[in-house]
Amino acid sequence: MANKKKKLMQGNMACVEGAIYSGMQFFAGYPITPSTEIAEGCSRELPKIGGRFIQMEDEIGSIAAVIGASIAGMKSFTATSGPGYSLMQENLGYAFITETPLVVINVQRGGPSTGLPTKVSQSDTMQARWGPHGDYAAIAVAPSTVQECHTETVRAFNLSERFRTPVTILLDEVIGHSRGVISLPEKGELEVYNRVKPTASPEEVLPFEMTPNLVSPMAGYGEGYRFHVTGLTHDVHGFSTNRSDEIFPKLDKLHNKILNYRDEISKLRIENMDDAEVAFISYGSVSRAALQATAIAREAGVKVGCIQLYTIWPFPEKELRQICANCSKVIVGELNMGQIIHEIERVLPGDIEIHAKQRYDGEIMTPMQLLEKLEEVL
């Protein structure tokens, strides 16, 4: 570990490093606080590795260019914040139905509307699941440290390539803007997954065929497989359909290619849960406060544990039920007026008390606030 490359950097920049580590070659974006450093970082770094950076005229164009580049065969991503994420939703839906791998980083700020551009928030948690209209399953991940900005970005790219789907990284402003020392992994240290390409002859390949794992091999444009891509609900050939016997399988595929593989996607950090009677459940920057609050309370002899969600969507319901099986109470900490808490209320058995500690004034959650809540519920 001694000769490992250590660097002081910002969370947003660690995302850029993680994307480059993943083999990303294309970024299209539009400036917006607090995500802009990701665009700036890409404009500096991508030319050096033969990649491509383009500042588009708006966020709608940005996500469109990213989808185009991904279909042309390049690992591609964009970064934005609340208002820009809202503008991207229609084309994100296009990426879901066309099964186009890409990554969107949403460095969350307060809302609605222009809201609190420079302040922290976690109020896009539900939008990351339900943003675009229509039916689909979504994947979203949330780092809580500068190092995790790197590892979760690599994981997000892997999940997008593995499942042929857009993946959202939910940062919050504090994580995007905090600086820390990180170890940059060597090549080969972290797994990097590349989309499966077709191997059969072009005459035999169906661009949206039903494979056993429901992920169709994906050729890039210009690689010998001429195919059609449309946002209309389509059959295995990629052509639009109004037939029930083709619509059901397509929408089921969008769901099941992800939901059948939850175990591959779920990722949680579990601390002090073996004998815990109370558990903090959180994600993103709140998890840093929860870890510290847990350590302080443990020193005082309170049987409390801490669960951090790295995978937000699909919601890790099975894992959470198991981990919390022996708890009597949980405290859900969020920087919003209550979003993921609804999922927790849905999945935990009725005899577990669920308490909320919410903050939505654009300030960070402190360990003291969580400890006060703990004291209140005990």
């Binding site: 033969g50 491509r52 185009g68 891509v229």
Partner: protein, 281 residues
């Protein structure tokens, strides 16, 4: 003559997608098929490898055109064909990228992308089929519906003014701009050929007939009557330059309206990449 006709239709058939069902979604007599035929013949003349062609469209009647062609095709979201195409072209600059769009798609919902694609001078050819109305949704007014004309959302006459797509493109920096109509098919083929060969952003406005809505609501008659309107009210650029504004009122000026040499976006970016990479060694 018979032999020539046969060869021409053979070329078109050769480029149609095997297995794609016909008839098309278009109304009988629609000008979109004429544009498709001219585009195929222009591509065939260039002898491009069809595996190296990406055709991108948005939403609307015109945007259904790429679906029938045996090239890489992307039927995107309303108004967004140009940024999707920008992503493809920038990722694979060696590909020939063609956008097919309409007056509503390119100039209303996609207006911002349209002017910025012109400004960037990215090497994409956009064919804007202008039928002065939203056909697919049933005849609503568009940014090119002329003043006083009737549509289902301007039932008492349009009180707005219309965009001239060519002037807009020239003003925004497009390096090749031409206008043609679906009556002038050999001319259309010539304009498309010039646009496809041009390095940089090129726009061809193809004035077309929506007799189903625009023609019917404005008492311009059937497809043939509308084609005759295009014939009677079009003036080639050379002749138009000798006419007064008063004489040109209500006329379509056809031909290459603008052409200039300018650096192309992907080329310029590649120079930047080469410089940065050689610095690194």
């Amino acid at each position: 003559m018979a032999t020539v006709t046969k060869q021409k239709s053979d070329v078109v058939l050769d480029y149609l997608r095997p297995g794609k069902k016909f008839p098309s979604v278009w109304c009988p007599g629609c000008g979109n098929g004429i544009v498709m035929g001219a585009l195929i013949r222009a591509i065939d003349k260039l002898g491009w490898d069809r595996d190296n062609i990406a055709m991108v469209s948005g939403i609307g009647c015109s945007s259904r055109l790429p679906i029938y062609l045996d090239v890489h095709t992307l039927h995107s979201t309303h108004g967004r064909a140009l940024p999707f195409a920008t992503g493809i072209k920038f990722a694979k600059p060696g590909m020939k990228v063609i956008v097919v769009t309409g007056d509503g798609d390119a100039l209303a919902i996609g207006g911002n992308h349209f002017i910025h694609a012109c400004r960037r001078n990215i090497d994409i050819t956009a064919i804007l089929i202008n039928n002065n109305i939203y056909g697919m949704t049933g005849g609503q007014g568009s940014p090119t519906t002329p003043a006083e004309k009737i549509s289902t959302t301007t039932p008492f006459g349009n009180v707005e003014k219309q965009f001239d797509p060519c002037q807009l493109a020239i003003g925004a920096g497009a390096s090749y701009v031409a206008r043609t109509t679906v009556y002038h098919t050999p001319h259309m083929e010539k304009m498309l050929l010039a646009a496809l060969e041009h390095k940089g952003f090129s726009l061809v406005e193809a004035v077309s007939n929506c007799h189903t809505y625009f023609g019917r609501l404005n008492r311009q008659g059937d497809a043939v009557a509308m084609l005759n309107l295009f014939k009677e009210n079009s003036v080639m650029k050379g002749k138009a330059s000798k006419m007064t504004d008063e004489e040109l009122k209500g006329k379509w000026v056809l031909g290459t309206l603008h052409e200039h040499e300018a650096t192309e976006f992907c080329d310029e970016y590649q120079k930047l990449v080469d410089a940065q990479m050689s610095k690194r060694g």
